[in-house]
Symmetry: C2
DNA sequence: CGAATAGTGTCTTTAAGACATTATATT
DNA sequence: AATATAATGTCTTAAAGACACTATTCG
């Protein structure tokens, strides 16, 4: 153990993390997409112990050589599993306890990602038998998940539902170009309730995070709909007031 | 390395975390209080390398034997430094990178605590020379902090300012019993702007997180003020609308 | 033209801001 | 009574909800 007398340089030369009992630390991801009018979450079947053969959230250990920070680990894992490079990504929360992993004290930094389904190419990673989208729906319960991943997924869903109420978050589940009606449908799908068209559009205009694609429309057997895309480099826009108050 | 053929039990018997290069993992705390009409943050002077002698946020390593989960580590550290057992405590965010600690890849789970100043008894911990409250103010810059703690503190302050706008958070900085005027002053102090008394009170009543202490008043050379306390077991109350929109 | 969805306008409702007024203690 | 702060009431404002109405394309 280091003495107080030595210099910082000397101290670092003698420092060895393996002199201490440390927790396992990993990064896990809750990746959502919407396909076929339904919210889905990405799960992987574990190829190794512990919980071999069970479904779990994608994730893994920090590579102390490759990853420069936590977000880099999350992006690396995301790309391995989905091929998506630039998703909406934010940190959800850390989870850590003595009991969540049979190997011992374990902690994980969980990230929360939204990706438009048109960008996804699922790939089989080296340590997984399978990668699969599972719909989030009452009538279709998810399989039992490894570790505390059922609880983590629940926290992620709450974050999603809440944040959609007062921010532009839902737009990140759509392809790059979309109409206001498509955006409203996305909000409705996630919130599980219809929204008033007029109020919705006033809010979006107020938020000022979309740009009109001049002269570009979505055509159908009706009046064509103006196409929009997200203004670049804006991040999320938050509203002063939540979508509904009761 | 474990083979896929063995049982989970066998696998765990042979598993050794020290076979891998793992990041350092710690828990740090941003502890706020308000004393003498000013927001303060608790800092400790580091007694050991690295950054010996520099001020830093209180924190330390997870004790894999004592701590049952991350929050337990945070509460243990908080109690060691302040004597406070049941503060307002929430997880702020994880921070982790190759460069934040000279010992190597390092990650930390940062917790955010609010404590009423009347409960605090500062104590000198074993690994610190000093524990001290520092005022948060433009005209009084904080010392240069160890690691990335300046950045972490900035994130915590933003969380504080934001959350006070739309929740009952500020009430957790007051002693157990307080008047509505005292509560309003606390909000004003943190937000740095005056609030309208009538609007403020309507909001608090709407939130319904206070209970009147029947017949108990704060006396002065004026009309006595009704005393209130937080309703127990409620957690934070969030408003549908932020305090001000411009 | 009819069907269908896009897009806008008007009135109401809700919660907050501005600000005046009343209430009740001490000195 | 004067003073000080507590507590409440009224009017206005901002943004959302309800809902009707107009616009524009295709078949």
């Amino acid at each position: 153990m280091a003495s107080k007398q030595q210099s910082e340089k000397e101290f670092l030369k003698n420092y060895n993390i393996h002199d201490y009992e440390v927790p396992l630390t990993s990064v896990d991801l809750v990746i959502f997409t919407v396909r076929e009018e339904r919210l889905h979450v990405l799960l992987v079947k574990r190829a190794d112990h512990p919980f071999m053969g069970q479904w779990s959230l994608p994730g893994g250990f920090i590579d102390v050589h490759k990853d420069k920070n936590l977000e880099a680990t999350a992006l690396r894992k995301l790309k391995e599993k989905t091929g998506v490079k630039a998703p909406y990504l934010e940190q959800l929360q850390g989870f850590g306890s003595k009991t969540r992993d049979p190997r011992g004290w374990s902690s994980t930094f969980v990230y929360f990602a939204l990706i438009p389904s048109d960008l996804v190419e699922l790939s089989q990673g080296s340590a997984v038998d399978a990668v699969q989208w599972f719909p989030i729906a009452q009538d279709q319960p998810l399989p039992h998940l490894a570790f505390d991943h059922t609880e983590i997924l629940e926290v992620a869903l709450q974050r999603l539902y809440n944040k959609v109420e007062y921010s532009s978050l839902a737009a990140h589940l759509l392809p790059a170009e979309f109409t206001l009606s498509e955006l409203q449908q996305m909000y409705q799908l996630i919130l599980g309730r219809p929204l008033d068209k007029s109020a919705f559009r006033k809010r979006i205009k107020e938020g000022d995070f979309l740009e009109e694609l001049n002269g570009q429309f979505r055509y159908g057997s009706n009046r064509p709909a103006q196409l929009y895309r997200l203004k670049q480099g804006l991040g999320l826009v938050y509203y002063a007031r939540s979508l509904s108050s009761d």
